[in-house]
């Protein structure tokens, strides 16, 4: 097979040639510094921002998780904070709730945007308007969106939107956020509605990259819509699907605003307590910043595992 080379895209191995006129001869180090000075200078801002607002708090959090501050005196306490946090009866409740939310969010919040994207991709008319409609909730501040759900949709009385619909259909109504069994599904529905716009757009972009000939060939072979989705769409978008799945897991495991607003914190009988909310509770309500830091580190470790999979998948995508 003949290979073609696009002019200008090949480069000899080794150091790149400077685009500037050659100056007087310099040492290798001096040259390196001079060549990269501008780049490094511009990098300083970003590095400082990350250092101050991301890396330092992270390191500080790890350090704090091994300390205890009492009466203004900080001492090293080894694994005490971890022992204490793990012994907290809310610890396992919070993890159970968090995994439950994550799984529900994967089933609902992951599948729904994908199928909405496929539907939108099939429309021939009014595509732009429909995309705006789907993306609109993303533009609402999350707190406003959740208050809409809390007071309008999830009202436990008959006046609530969802209960009115259920009543009109002669179905039993629900207590929504006040029912421990409905807390998680209700939070996932609200969360999916709020966030799916972004995922739909990414899926749409991926779908539009699938060569049309593949669908045409599948249609010629007599494939219906489901077989086209199964044998063309899913294989062609599997990396994007995997990447978004990982992103979704990492994001949903940190859910916080949903319990805070929809359930006023912990919800009925602790049914809404997430790990992130438990961290907040320890840190800000229980005078236990060190315990909160320990819980944060535990969460960091769990999320790092999922993030590693994500990084692997992204490099594969590249």
């Amino acid at each position: 097979m003949a290979t073609t080379t696009v002019p200008g895209t090949t480069r000899a191995p080794g150091r790149p040639t400077s685009p500037y006129p050659a100056g007087p001869p310099r040492t290798s180090l001096g040259r390196k510094v001079r060549d990269n000075l501008t780049g490094h200078a511009f990098l300083i801002g970003a590095v400082l921002c990350f250092a101050f607002f991301s890396w330092y708090p992270m390191i500080r959090g790890v350090v704090m998780s091994f300390q205890r501050t009492r009466r203004g005196v900080t001492t090293w306490v080894g694994w005490d904070n971890y022992d204490r946090i793990i012994a907290d009866p809310s610890f396992w409740t919070a993890w159970k709730n968090t995994f439950y939310f994550t799984i529900l969010a994967l089933v609902l919040g992951y599948a729904v945007p994908f199928f909405v994207a496929i539907l939108l991709n099939e429309f021939r008319h009014a595509k732009g308007y429909l995309r705006i409609l789907v993306y609109l909730p993303v533009m609402l501040p999350p707190a406003s969106a959740l208050f809409l759900f809390k007071f309008y949709a999830y009202d436990p009385g008959d006046a609530g939107l969802f209960n009115s619909i259920l009543k009109a259909l002669h179905l039993p109504t629900s207590q929504w956020m006040q029912s421990p069994g409905m807390t998680m599904p209700a939070m996932v529905i609200a969360s999916t509605w709020m966030n799916m716009g972004g995922a739909v757009l990414i899926y749409l972009a991926a779908l539009q990259n699938i060569p049309g000939e593949l669908y045409e060939a599948a249609e010629l072979d007599g494939a219906g819509i489901w077989r086209r989705i199964r044998h063309v769409t899913i294989p062609q978008t599997r990396l994007i699907l995997a990447l978004l799945a990982m992103l979704q897991i990492v994001a949903t495991m940190q859910f916080f605003i949903e319990p805070l607003i929809l359930a006023n914190g912990t919800g009925a009988e602790d049914s809404a307590t997430s790990v992130a909310y438990l961290i907040y509770q320890h840190g800000f309500f229980q005078n236990d910043l060190n315990g909160a830091a320990a819980l944060g580190v535990i969460m960091l470790v769990v999320l790092a595992g999922f993030s590693a999979v994500y990084v692997r998948l992204s490099s594969k995508q590249d």
């Binding site: 203004g72 204490r84 009866p89 207590q175 912990t266 009925a268 009988e269 005078n287």
Partner: protein
């Protein structure tokens, strides 16, 4: 200048700018000490927010007058929101070391403030010389802010809880406004009648989220004669018949009678919003709850009255008392502490001035005549003076609080590490208010385990 030179210049400017910004951030302001002119400056938080126009004006007028009387003191006011102590904000300020020189806190905050290392021992400064009414202040309130014999804050408000009830709804339900419920059985019967009015009205309403559920559980438990912690403070002490009775009363009203409304998981503002809208017949609260209903939630003073907290079969054994005070930030100079005490004395502890300036408050939309803040010991000079002024300038019908005042219930303070315990007890309260099949024994056992774990962790 060639393009690369522009880039270099831009890069250098960026670096220089960042450097300057960082330097600016790290420069410590020292304007809060004594300046060259010998003036002492102190920062004070809890200045009313802009929406509380009259309160803000009163505060600012007080600052101007105080500074006129004390030309060597400068008060810098800081507003920290409508609720001066919103626990997450308060914790963040403490942890970040950004509290003002004088900072507002609840009586329950002492341990947290001490743990943060931000509070100053003011024992030697808090005397009759700096606070003229010091000897009149109820010693029990000073004790709340004392640890190991050292005083860390000055009390500025004190309350006790009772039964707040809506007279209009009482009348509509055929109940006698002058004979409010005295026992939980009577509360239950009245709540049933009030909720029968329909239109989403709750006969009795109760908190169960944002720590307020635990706060009220504590008061209801005190009414039963119970206590949250054992006398030595080492163990939870509510998983017993008294604790069960508290939850059973609520469960019976919520699901037995359906007299507590559909909406639960209520926090402070939720309940008072409903009350302001005339949707709540009764709730447990302090006298100033009526003030919040009027000033923040569009209710009317004349609609509300107050009775003592009901007991199970007779008079309540106890009720929860609490309050607020001002702490002093560690590291202040003696001059600053004295200036701070002088300011608090003027604005919070002098009959006829600041919060006790009833002549000024009378025409404003703030109540004069409530049996609050109860700072001065009964029979003390300041108490007599305050009571006279209050009566002379009352703008609310004091008869609405007469039953409450005439039947005092012994006041019990909040438990140690109260906010953390309240957070745990929220789950027990939400359990009986949202689950018709709630297992009270299991709810109390879980809460007991959690509180014991919290206490063990403190050691």
């Amino acid at each position: 200048m060639s393009v690369p030179q522009y880039r270099k210049a831009a890069a250098l400017a960026l670096v220089a700018g960042l450097g300057l910004s960082l330097a600016a951030c790290s420069t410590k302001s020292d304007d809060a000490k004594t300046d060259a002119g010998g003036k002492v400056t102190i920062t004070v938080d809890c200045q009313p927010v802009g929406s509380q126009k009259e309160l803000l004006k009163n505060w600012n007028d007080d600052v101007v007058e105080f500074q006129r009387q004390n030309p060597n003191i400068v008060i810098k006011s800081v507003s920290v929101g409508e609720q001066c102590n919103n626990p997450p904000d308060f914790t963040a300020r403490l942890a970040g070391g950004t509290v003002t020189d004088l900072f507002y806190g609840y009586m329950t905050d002492l341990q947290q403030v001490l743990d943060s290392g931000q509070a100053m021992d003011i024992t030697e400064f808090a005397t009759k010389d700096t606070v003229p009414t010091w000897d009149s202040i109820d010693p029990a309130l000073k004790e709340v802010f004392t640890d190991g014999g050292k005083l860390y804050a000055v009390p500025v408000k004190n309350y006790s809880m009772g039964l707040v009830y809506n007279k209009v709804l009482f009348q509509r339900a055929g109940l006698d406004v002058n004979n409010p419920p005295k026992t939980w059985g009577e509360v239950r019967a009245a709540a049933k009648k009030i909720s029968a009015l329909g239109n989403g009205i709750a006969g009795y309403s109760e908190y169960s989220a944002g720590n307020t559920g635990g706060w009220h559980f504590t008061s209801l438990l005190y009414a039963q004669g119970g206590q949250v912690l054992t006398a030595d403070g080492k163990k939870a002490d509510f998983n017993n018949a008294k604790g069960k009775q508290v939850l059973q009363n609520l469960k019976d009203m919520r699901y037995g009678d359906n007299s507590m409304g559909d909406r639960q998981l209520l926090q402070w503002a939720d309940l008072l919003t409903n009350a302001g809208a005339g949707k709540v017949g009764m709730f447990v609260g302090a006298p100033d709850a009526t003030q919040a209903i009027v000033s923040q939630f569009q209710g009317k003073f004349q609609d509300w009255a107050m009775a003592p907290l009901p007991g199970q079969d007779g008079k309540a054994v106890g009720t929860l008392g609490g309050g607020e005070g001002y702490f002093f930030k560690k590291g202040l100079t003696p001059e600053q502490v004295k200036a701070g005490l002088k300011w608090i004395a003027y604005q919070k502890l002098t009959p006829g001035k600041g919060q006790f300036d009833y002549v000024r408050a009378k025409p404003q939309n703030y109540p004069v005549g409530l049996p609050q803040p109860l700072l001065f010991a009964g029979g003390s000079d300041a108490q007599k003076q305050e009571l006279e002024l209050r009566k002379a300038n009352a703008n609310v019908d004091t008869a609405n609080f007469a039953i409450f005042e005439a039947n005092p219930v012994p006041i019990k303070g909040e438990p140690r590490n109260a906010q953390a315990i309240y957070a745990v007890l929220d789950a027990a309260m939400s359990g009986v208010l949202t689950n018709p099949n709630a297992n009270i024994d299991a709810l109390l056992k879980t809460a007991e385990d959690k509180v014991n774990q919290l206490l063990a962790a403190e050691k």
